[in-house]
């Protein structure tokens, strides 16, 4: 889990980039597709409704011209004296007179018929005297007597001046057949006395062509009369049914002068256009099933499919490209993250795109520079420390000199000439080795000589209650040690280890094994408990203790050794209250060589 997280961490950029791209592509595709569909839909519906309203006007014209023919027929019938005579006369007994009357009437009717022939309409008349005629009807249209007996006649007589249109259902062999009947009451022009009825009948099937060429699947036309009855429709099943809802919509459209109205009919979203046909008192209603019509025009499925394919391809491309782009970056960042682990030596592999290569090269160049600076800094610091040490080494405490010289004065005054000479000799030798000898390291042997001189001087000054003995393993005396390395510990033992006890001894042990030179300064003085030991160590760091002989103190020996030879070497102090202190110094085995500057800086 953690490993996975670690891995993901380096892919963070890729994941973010890809996620952003993914979301944007999907969002863009979806919004473009949606907007596109919406716009197409809107545009299409707008155009469709405009076209349809033009079409509706044309349909209206068709209806008007049919109405005009009917009006012409009605006027001709109204004005015809022959018809009036035929419909008002009482029958004659003479066949020839009858024949003439019928013949004249049929001639007249044929003329009238010809005005509506183009519409396959039939004309029938009935007179108050019972005479009637049904032209061009044969068996396919309701005849005059049937129509006269129907409720249509009553309706027509209610408003005698008007050419009215009705739906009439003919009972035929195979169910009912809808017929549209125009009625006109024939009246005396002067007295308004009714003498007959004129019926113009047209099959609903012949009525349909007025609009049917404009209809299509989902684009329906319904004609309803003023009471909401469906008169004609390209859906035959609707004919004759009541549809008050449709009527109210149509009236709304007409009253409010709407161009188009969106309605919901039978669970479908429909666009509805309506025209009032005043001469018929019909409403011409055009219903457009939005879904179906759009479905034919806009193939939503294929658009969506296409968009999906495009999105998929785009995503694949984006995935590949962003992966390729971030991959080198990821590698780079992974390599860079290890910058701390190897002292600025983790150089990166330069690869990938131009920018990444530049970055990598710059980084590597920077690492080079850093390393360069660091090494130079270390070198400088070592040089500085060395210079400091050299300075310290050469600082012989003047008090030491006064005191020693004062001691020698006393020796001379006491006439201990030999001892005075010896003391002077020791001091001279000591000074010679510390100040005159410029080399940093000296042999163990020489160091021991120095120690012995120093101890001798101290004995002269403070008496010989603290004895010092030296144990040098054979073969060790030729190895090199830093100058005045052991002296500070001897000094420390002399002046601090024997405050409670009056006398004791100090052992200096020098041995060597295969790899190390070990020098031990062991005393049997007061010793230190843990607190004192800690304080002693602190004191070392604070560098407050004033050294009696030279500038070099116990405190910086450890640092000095480590600086010169590395971490594995140094000083360790163990002590126990009342049992003394043991100081152990470990050094590498360094053979004395010609040059003094041999032991330089370890790289």
């Amino acid at each position: 889990m953690k490993a996975l997280f670690e891995r993901l961490k380096f892919h963070g950029l890729f994941i973010k980039m890809f996620a952003v791209m993914f979301v944007s592509i999907i969002a863009i595709a979806a919004s473009v597709a949606w907007t596109n569909l919406r716009m197409t839909e809107k545009l299409f519906l707008d155009t469709f409704s405009i076209t349809n309203s033009k079409v509706m006007n044309q349909v209206k014209n068709n209806f008007e011209s049919f109405h005009y023919s009917n009006v012409l027929a009605a006027i001709t019938a109204q004005q015809s004296g022959t018809l009036k005579t035929f419909l008002t006369d009482k029958g004659s007994d003479e066949s020839i007179k009858e024949m003439n009357a019928y013949y004249g009437m049929t001639q007249q009717m044929r003329k009238i018929q010809s005005t509506v022939d183009a519409y396959s309409a039939g004309i029938a008349i009935v007179g108050k005297n019972g005479r009637n005629y049904s032209g061009n009807s044969y068996l396919t249209k309701p005849n005059a007597r049937e129509l006269y007996a129907s409720p249509l006649t009553k309706e027509a007589e209610a408003s005698p001046g008007k050419l009215m249109y009705h739906l009439y259902k003919v009972k035929g062999e195979d169910g009912q057949k809808p017929v549209i009947v125009a009625t006109k009451v024939l009246q005396e022009t002067t007295t308004d006395q009714e003498y007959g009825m004129l019926y113009i009948t047209i099959d609903e099937n012949d009525f349909k062509p007025f609009y049917s060429s404009f209809t299509s699947e989902g684009n329906d036309v319904v004609i309803i009369d003023g009471s909401g009855t469906v008169i004609s429709s390209n859906h035959s099943s609707l004919i004759g049914s009541q549809n008050a809802q449709l009527l109210s919509y149509a009236q709304d459209i007409q009253d409010q002068g709407l161009h188009v109205k969106k309605v919901k009919m039978m669970g479908k979203d429909e666009l509805m256009l309506a025209q009032y046909l005043p001469s018929y008192n019909f409403y011409l209603v055009n219903m457009i099933d939005q879904q179906q019509v759009l479905g034919q025009m806009v193939n939503t499925k294929s658009i969506v499919l296409l968009v999906l394919v495009i999105v998929l391809v785009a995503l694949v491309v984006v995935f590949l490209i962003s992966r390729k782009m971030t991959r080198s970056l990821t590698l780079l960042s992974r390599q860079m993250s290890k910058v701390t682990s190897r002292n600025f030596h983790n150089y990166v592999n330069v690869g990938g795109g131009y920018e990444i290569r530049q970055l990598g090269e710059a980084y590597n160049y920077m690492l080079d520079e850093v390393n360069d600076y660091v090494s130079r800094l270390v070198h400088t610091q070592q040089e500085q420390r060395k210079a400091e040490l050299a300075a310290l080494q050469q600082q012989i405490n003047p008090h030491f000199l006064y005191n020693t010289l004062a001691s020698v004065k006393f020796l001379v005054q006491q006439d201990s000439k030999d001892k005075a000479v010896d003391t002077i000799h020791a001091l001279i030798s000591l000074l010679q080795n510390t100040i005159s000898n410029v080399s940093e390291t000296i042999t163990v042997e020489l160091e021991l000589v120095n120690l012995k001189h120093y101890v001798f001087i101290n004995h002269v000054r403070y008496g010989e209650r603290i004895r010092v003995s030296y144990f040098v393993a054979p073969g060790c005396s030729t190895y090199q040690v830093p100058k005045l390395m052991i002296q500070p510990f001897i000094e420390n033992a002399f002046f601090h280890a024997f405050n409670e006890r009056a006398e004791g001894f100090i052992h200096v042990l020098i041995s060597c094994d295969a790899r190390k030179l070990v020098c031990e300064v062991v005393d049997n003085g007061d010793g230190m408990d843990m607190k004192q030991l800690e304080r002693a160590k602190d004191k070392k760091k604070q560098k407050k203790s004033r050294q009696l002989f030279s500038g070099i103190g116990v405190a910086n020996v450890h640092d000095r050794i480590r600086l010169l030879y590395g971490e594995e070497y140094g000083v360790s102090i163990t002590s126990q209250k009342g049992e003394g202190t043991k100081v152990r110094i470990t050094l590498p085995l360094i053979e004395a060589q010609g040059s003094d500057t041999e032991h330089g800086i370890k790289p």
């Binding site: 007994d93 020839i96 003439n100 049929t106 009807s137 068996l139 396919t140 005849n143 998929l312």
Partner: protein, 433 residues
């Protein structure tokens, strides 16, 4: 990289699958359309009680053997069919025309001679010799058989037995009358019962046509194109008889078909001299069962070769020369063209008497009809059918009749007969060329 390739390939396969899927569908759809075209035929006819009913029976019989053929039967008024055919054929487009159509024999030559290429030659499909001889003239042209003869228009005199008995006649008295005797009968019936003898439409001279065909004469000469009015003795006699009938004041005038039928069913007239196809309409008034009888047609008293058999109307089936004509021809040949059994059904159910000779041997043709008092009406009609004089109806029967209708009115109103006929002759000659 491999993954990408796989992905791309998948996409391509998907896309091609989609597109090829669409194509398959289209092909299937168009194939189906083409197939349906030849297996779906449309037939036009008029009269739902007679011709359409007969077609339904034929359709049933044919679909029993060929269930895959879809037959659409469309009903129009006869005038509409004539108009639509003329419009379609004139414009030279076959769009909207039916595969088969019913045409009245009087009009058949007009169509066949004007548009011989628009009708399919059925000579190989049916045998003309199997049909009544007088039907072959109108249905063939230039030696080719175009029509499948359908119903016979053989005419009979339908009489109300009760009325003539009231007038003092028996049925036997009225067998083999001539038209003079018929007029006398009319006067007698009017006097005794107050009923008219006949119902006539001033615009329909069917009675004249029946009269002259009984004498082997027609409006046109044997060539089918020359008007034969002025010196046509039979026509002259028919005109005279018509006027006499009118003057006897025994005629009920009608102006349309519904009034004509009403006059029969209401009992307004004592006789109906017309084609046998009126039988269903007469029988429609069930309350008059047993009161009707069918007699041979009266003949012309003075024209020597006039017989007691004539014809009115009758029609035949024609196949239009448009895609699907093979199916339509096959349908007609298998049903109206040869199926004698089917004619028995036609007769029983519809009352249609066919002209297929073989059909007359069937059982239904000899069955007595209770409505007509047990008379074997069909076998009588069949007998008379054989006697119908063959005439050439020519191309312009109705054009001449339109002229004669006008002239008849003039004649009734006092114009001299010779003048009437010579005027009609010159008008006809001017019109028919």
């Amino acid at each position: 990289m491999k993954k990408v390739m796989v992905l791309l390939l998948t996409c391509m396969i998907l896309l091609t699958a989609c597109s090829s899927g669409g194509k398959d569908k289209e092909q299937a759809a168009s194939g189906g359309g083409g197939d349906a075209k030849s297996k779906e035929i449309t037939i036009w006819a008029w009269d739902p009680k007679f011709n359409i009913a007969a077609l339904d029976i034929a359709k049933e019989a044919y679909n029993a053997k060929h269930p895959d053929v879809k037959i659409n039967i469309v009903e129009f008024a006869q005038a509409d069919i004539i108009q639509k055919l003329n419009t379609g054929l004139n414009s030279g487009t076959t769009k909207g025309l039916p595969n088969a159509v019913l045409i009245e024999d009087y009009r058949a030559q007009g169509f066949l001679q004007a548009y011989p290429d628009s009708f399919a030659d059925l000579s190989g499909k049916i045998k003309p010799e199997n049909f009544a001889e007088y039907k072959i003239g109108p249905t063939s042209y230039d030696g080719k058989q175009y029509g499948v003869p359908f119903d016979t228009g053989v005419a009979g005199l339908y009489v109300r037995k009760d009325y003539i008995e009231q007038a003092g006649y028996t049925l036997d008295d009225l067998q083999n009358m001539d038209w003079k005797q018929y007029i006398e009968l009319g006067k007698k019936v009017k006097e005794k019962t107050g009923k008219d003898i006949i119902s006539l439409d001033p615009n329909d001279l069917g009675i004249l046509r029946m009269m002259i065909q009984s004498a082997g004469s027609w409006y046109l000469k044997g060539d089918g194109t020359t008007p034969d009015l002025k010196d046509n003795a039979a026509l002259k006699e028919a005109f005279t008889l018509y006027k006499e009938l009118m003057q006897s004041n025994t005629v009920k005038v009608n102006a349309d078909w519904s009034q004509f039928i009403a006059s029969i069913n209401n009992g307004d007239v004592a006789t109906v001299p017309t084609g046998n196809w009126i039988t269903p309409s007469v029988k429609a008034e069930a309350s008059q069962a047993g009161q009707w009888a069918i007699l041979p047609m009266p003949k012309l008293p003075e024209t020597p070769n006039s017989v007691h058999a004539t014809n009115l109307g009758g029609s035949s089936w024609y196949v239009m020369n448009i895609p699907g004509s093979d199916t339509a021809a096959d349908f007609l040949a298998e049903t109206f063209g040869s199926n004698a059994d089917m004619y028995q059904t036609l007769l029983t159910k519809v009352g249609a008497i066919g002209t297929l000779k073989e059909a007359a041997k069937g059982e239904a043709y000899t069955k007595p009809d209770d409505f007509f008092g047990g008379q074997q009406t069909v076998s009588d009609f069949s007998k008379w059918t054989a006697e119908i004089p063959k005439v050439n109806y020519g191309t312009s029967t109705y054009a001449i009749e339109d002229i004669l209708v006008v002239e008849m009115q003039n004649y009734l109103n006092g114009k001299s007969l010779d003048q009437v006929l010579s005027d009609a002759q010159s008008q006809a000659e001017a019109q028919i060329k």
